[in-house]
Every structure is written in C-alpha cells, then in structure tokens.
C-alpha cells in the first residue's frame, strides 16, 4: 500500500493540482521552521519556501521514490536557501530569540529573573553562530528534522559516517565555545 505522500506525488504527476496542494500542506510548517532557523527572517523564509515548492512541483517527475521524499525536499530547500543568500552575500544571524519571548515568560515569576534567563538563552542560542553554514545545516537536520545520519548523508551528499563525524564536530565546537563563555562568566 502506498504512503499518502506517494499517492499525492503520483496524482500530481497525473495533473492533479489539488494533490500537490496537499503535499505543500504536509510539509510547509516544518520546512518553514527549518528555513527560518537558517535565515532568522520570516519574509526571507516565506520567499524561499515558495521557491522550494515551485521547484518541487517543476521537478517532481525527477523524484526517485527509492529515496525518502523528505530528504529530497530538504535537499531542494537547502540549495534554494544557499542560492538566495549567495545573492544577498551575507550570512544570517541565528538570533531569533524574540519568537520565544512568550515562552521565557512562563519560566520565571519575576521580570528580573525572566530577563536573566532570556539573556542566558540568548548567549546559548548565539553559540550556533559560531558554526559554519554547512555545520549549522547539519546540526539542524540532526536535531530539528531528526534525520538519521544516513538521511543527512543523502541530503548533503556525503556518507553516513561523514555525517556522524560532522555532527560530532559541531557539538564539540558548541561545547568548547560554551566553556569559553563560562570561564568568562558570560553564562
């Protein structure tokens, strides 16, 4: 029995545009979060997301169902993101703490304490900016999308062993940077 996702893909390829809309609805939420975590900009993320789905539609006949549709669509998303920011010639900051302000408010009862916690989180999240672009992507694929090392390898075009090593290095870098901040009393 075909997975619903594959049913929508097949229908789209037969000219059913509503089936493609279903595919968009299935993936847009997560895909937006993923892109947003890379761009830190809602506008840019929405624009990239649109481009991603247009590309997905126009190239759907090339999709090989021997591979996961998720890895295929994330590969397109990463390439679209890279092309978009290559044009802008800057790397986005990952400081998007404002989206979680409401959440922080529940953590502490007092505004002072809430501020301190916010600052602490700010510093922690800022650690991600120490990672290179490809490292950030890998870290996101691992901990946001929960891809296996094999799937990460398929998206990036490397072996699963290399993917595992790269994730380890990312974590090592983050921990090293955290220790430096800790020693300086910044966290």
């Amino acid at each position: 029995m075909l997975r619903p996702e594959q049913v929508y893909i097949n229908k789209t390829l037969l000219g059913d545009i509503e089936a493609f809309e279903c595919l968009i609805n299935m993936h847009q939420g997560q895909l937006f979060s993923f892109i947003y975590k890379l761009t830190s900009s809602r506008e840019d993320s929405e624009e990239i997301l649109q481009d991603v789905f247009v590309k997905v539609y126009n190239n759907l006949f090339r999709y090989d169902n021997e591979y996961s549709f998720s890895t295929w669509i994330y590969r397109i998303a990463i390439n679209t993101f890279k092309n978009a920011y290559k044009k802008k010639k800057n790397t986005p900051s990952l400081l998007f703490i404002e989206d979680f302000e409401r959440e922080f408010a529940y953590i502490s009862d007092t505004p002072e304490a809430a501020f301190e916690i916010k600052e602490f989180y700010n510093e922690i999240i800022n650690l991600l900016n120490y990672l290179k672009e490809d490292e950030k992507i890998i870290f996101m694929l691992k901990y946001f999308k929960d891809f296996t090392y094999k799937e990460i390898g398929e998206v990036i075009g490397i072996s699963s062993e290399s993917a595992k090593m790269k994730v380890y290095r990312c974590k090592n870098t983050l921990v090293e940077k955290y220790n430096v901040l800790k020693k300086r009393g910044m966290v």
Partner: protein, 554 residues
C-alpha cells in the same frame, strides 16, 4: 575538554533513551565534573531550542499555486515521458546495466590478459610465453621454467616377427613403430613414480603411426592421450606432445639410413609432399582433439629435423614447411604453445665438404647428399612459439663415453642458443638433454648438474630424456640407453628358471645379452623371482637424486 567521558557526553542523544544504568552513571558524573556538566547543559539547551518549531503564520500554498503551471503534468512533455519511462523500467535497467558491466569487466579482463600474455594473441591457454616478462607464465600469471622428463614410451619401435626380419634384410631399421600404445608404457606405478619426481612438465613422445589417418586405432589412441594429459594435469604437470617419429625419414631411422646416398634414403617431410601432408594431417587431427585440453603445454611439431639438400629445396622448403605446419595447427588451436626444434643436420649440396661416416674421412659431395652436422633455428612467423634444441655436448662424451666435458665449452654452446634467442626477439628456449649409460653414474650426474646449472642461469626450460625405456638382451644397455628407469618386458622370452637360478633361455640370447651388457644388468637388477617388479632404477639413484633437486627447486 579533558574529561575522558567527553565522547560519552558528545555522542549522547538527548532524545534517545539510554539504559538506566548508563543514565545513572552520567548523572552522578555530571554532578562531580564541571566540564561535562557544562557540555551537557549547553547541548541540552541547544538541541531543545533547535527542535522547537517556529509558529507558522502564512500558508504559502496559494502563492505557490499561483506561480506554477497547473497543466504542467497534463501536457505530454517528452522529457517527462522519458523520465517516467526510465523510472518504470528502472529495475530492469538496473539489472541490464549490472549485466552489461559484468560483461564488460569480463571482456576487459580477457583482453587485458591476452595483451599481457602476448601482444598479438588472444586466448585462454594455461601456459603462454610472456614477451614483457621474458618468461613462460602459467594460468595464474606466475613465471614458470619448465622442468621435466621425456616419456618416449615405445614410440621408437618394437621387433615384430615377420616384419622386422624383412626390414633388416633391406638395410632398414627393423623396429616397427607401434600403432597402438602398449599398456606397459604408462602404468599406475609409472604415474606414481612420475608424480614423486617433482617435475612440472612431461614430454609425451608420439609417433606418426599412432595418429595416422589410416590407423583404425587412432581414435582410441587420442582418447588415451587425452586421459593421460588429464591425469598429468591433475598432478599439476604440463604435457608437451612431442612428435619423435614423423612419417618418412626420422631421427630414429637415420643412423642406419645415413650410410646410404641421399637418393636411396627414405624421404623426409621436407622432401616428400605426401609425407608432408601426412604430417600436417596428423597435427590437424591432434590439435582438433586437444585444443581445449587442460594441462597441455603445447605441440612439439618435429624432433630433430634435417634440412634437405639444395636440390630438394634446401633451407627454403624447410622453413616454408615448418611454418606451414605451424599455420595449420594455429588455424585450429590458437592458444597452445608450438614447440619448434632446431635442425640438427643438413644434407650437403654438390661440391660441399662433409664427413663421410662410411670412410670416416672428409669428402666432397658429388650429389650423394652427405650429412653435414650443423644446427640452427628457423624463425616461425606465428606467436607463442618456444624454440627447442637437443643438448648432448660434447657428443662423443654423452653418446659414446669418450673423452670428458668442459663446463666452459658447454656454456659456450648454450650461449649461442641464448644469443640467437635474443636476436630473434627474446624468444623462449627449451632444451632436451641426456647422457648415455656408457658413462658411469657419477659421471652422468656431474654432467647433468652442469647442464642444469646452465639452464638455471640462462633461464632455459629443460626436459631430461628419458624417463623409462625397455631393456633386454637385444638392446644396447650402454650407448643406446639414456633413461632413468629400465623395464624388462621380454623376460618370459629370454629367461628360464632352472636349478633355483634364473638363466638366459639359450646361448643365442645369452650372447646377445653379453654383447649389449645386459647380462650384468640382469643379474644386478632383474634377477628376482618377482616378475611384476620389472622396472628398475638401475644405478641411477644418484642421477635421480640430483635431477629431483633441480626439478623441485623453485
């Protein structure tokens, strides 16, 4: 970070449950190790942060649908149809590609191997000459020096009552070459003995009669030959099928016939067209039957050939016919080696000076075609040829036991062959060699060891001649006996048991035995009641020990 549990923490996936035992350990460790605690905290917070989805406020589907062609997949676009078709046939395509790849790899392997073995040669023979490595290589690509022994069987001839007397009266060799290979030639004991020698090759002597077109037994004979090759192959011994007695003149008849003028001698395959065609036909038959025989090294097309006089074509006809028979074999069997011997003698042309055996004097030839003893190779214009030569230097010593030998002289002769081989394009050489029993066992051993050392030094393959020959009262056991083993087959005709002793059956046999030195041999090696033990190593133990050392040496 210096803590030894660094890796444990870094590899820890916060979302995957780990064993209670491990978790308890890490919790305890984190409490006491600040570095690990910091690492755990940082990763825990970051992973949790990254996992959270960002609230999504705008549905992009409408915008996307506005930017795509809704009829894109309704139109039958060629590239989409092609892609879709390819996707459908992908499983079949995959298998086909795999099969094609395997086929190509096999093809490349075959071509590469053929190219490695011989530039202009394609085949899958077990043994080939490699021009690049200047050596024979076996099926595994290992360089190999053929070291073996000749099985002359009984190809030379047997005394046949009623026929032999007539031949003798005509001044011809009375021994009739057999048309069926005798059962005693290669028995189970022989195979076991040969296996124990440590040789990697045997020369398998044949005569034309065994495989002539008019021999009703030739199919059985070839079956037997095939089975013997297979048997040797199972023992990892290559077989060189060697024609010792061709139609017409042969080296076996030659000692008797040389006394006659050329026009009265039996013609050779180079002088007589019928004999030539018989020779070719025999090889075509054998090549057809053996072209796929595993363990076959190849065909030695003629033993010790002689160039006819100029009147009968001279060197030109010799070269043409040697090449001609090779070409006919090659048409059938492209793979196996053709062993081509040097000529050992030449018939004199009118006016040439030769040594007359009748008068033991030098003489000017006046058309009688005297024999000039000289040797040399003719180039064969086909690939995968091994050139062979007989080595009995000095002849008077190895054949007649006269004089002695000198290592430097032997080496000088070998160098001549090597020099020719080099000039001919580093072609391979194989030597047949032997020494008669007229020399003492120790003398034979020393000469053989000298020859073997030269073969080793100059990388020449070598086949010692012979393994086993018949012995008896009427056979010269000294000058005409070169084999390691003697086999007494005519015991029942020549020996009687009388007064608890074995005696020659009559005075005629006894006289013949004395003349040929067999009386001593009989008493020493065959005077036993066990007639089944008719094969004896004679006094060849030290000879055999020395040869075994050479054969088994890598």
């Amino acid at each position: 970070m210096k803590c030894r549990y660094k890796e444990e923490i870094l590899n820890l996936d916060m979302r995957i449950q780990i064993s209670m035992e491990k978790m308890e350990f890490l919790k305890t460790h984190i409490k006491t190790c600040e570095e690990c605690r910091n690492a755990y905290t940082a990763l825990f917070l970051l992973e949790n942060h990254v996992q959270k989805e960002v609230p999504f406020r705008v549905n992009v589907s409408k915008k996307v649908l506005m930017n795509i062609d809704p009829n894109y997949y309704k139109k039958k676009r060629p590239h989409i149809i092609l892609n879709s078709t390819l996707r459908r046939i992908k499983p079949v395509l995959k298998t086909a590609c795999l099969a094609t790849a395997v086929f190509l790899v096999v093809l490349i392997f075959i071509f590469a191997k053929a190219n490695l073995l011989n530039h202009s040669y394609y085949g899958n023979s077990s043994l080939q000459w490699n021009y690049e490595n200047k050596g024979l290589i076996d099926e595994n690509g290992n360089i190999i020096q053929l070291k073996g022994i000749m099985l002359t069987n009984n190809v030379w001839g047997n005394w046949e009552d009623g026929v032999s007397e007539k031949l003798q009266k005509e001044g011809k060799n009375p021994m009739v070459p057999p048309s069926i290979q005798d059962s005693w030639v290669l028995t189970e004991d022989d195979f076991n003995r040969i296996k124990a020698l440590g040789v990697n090759c045997v020369g398998y002597g044949i005569n034309y009669q065994l495989f002539s077109k008019d021999n009703i037994h030739r199919v059985d004979n070839i079956k037997k030959l095939k089975s013997h090759i297979a048997r040797f192959n199972a023992m990892k011994i290559y077989t060189v099928v060697s024609l010792l007695v061709p139609p017409g003149q042969s080296s076996y008849q030659e000692p008797i016939e040389r006394m006659q003028p050329g026009n009265l001698r039996t013609k050779s395959v180079f002088e007589d067209t019928t004999y030539y065609h018989q020779w070719v036909e025999m090889w075509k038959f054998i090549a057809t039957e053996l072209s796929d025989a595993k363990g076959l090294a190849g065909y030695d097309i003629l033993y010790q050939p002689r160039i006819p006089s100029l009147k009968e074509g001279g060197t030109q006809v010799f070269e043409e016919r040697m090449n001609g028979v090779c070409e006919e074999i090659r048409k059938i069997d492209e793979e196996h080696i053709l062993f081509v011997q040097e000529y050992r003698s030449r018939e004199a042309n009118e006016g040439e000076i030769y040594f007359d055996s009748n008068t033991n004097k030098m003489k000017e030839d006046s058309g009688e075609q005297g024999i000039i003893w000289m040797s040399g190779f003719v180039k064969i214009h086909h690939p995968n040829i091994v050139y062979t030569f007989s080595f009995y230097d000095p002849f008077d010593f190895t054949y007649n036991g006269k004089g002695s030998f000198d290592k430097n002289d032997m080496e000088a002769t070998i160098k001549q062959y090597v020099s020719w081989a080099k000039r001919a394009g580093n072609v391979p050489l194989l030597s047949y060699y032997s020494i008669a029993r007229v020399n003492s066992a120790s003398c034979r051993t020393t000469w053989i060891e000298t020859a073997n050392a030269l073969y080793k030094e100059y990388k020449i393959s070598a086949i010692y001649s012979d393994y086993k020959s018949p012995m008896g009262s009427y056979i010269d056991s000294q000058k005409d006996f070169f084999s390691l083993f003697g086999q007494y087959n005519t015991r029942e005709k020549e020996i009687q048991y009388k007064n608890s002793t074995y005696l020659f059956i009559n005075s005629e046999v006894e006289a013949a035995a004395k003349k040929n030195g067999f009386d001593v041999i009989f008493n020493k090696y065959f005077d036993t009641s066990n007639q089944k033990e008719s094969v004896s190593l004679l006094d060849n133990k030290i000879v055999l020990d020395s040869l075994k050392k050479f054969w088994k040496e890598k």
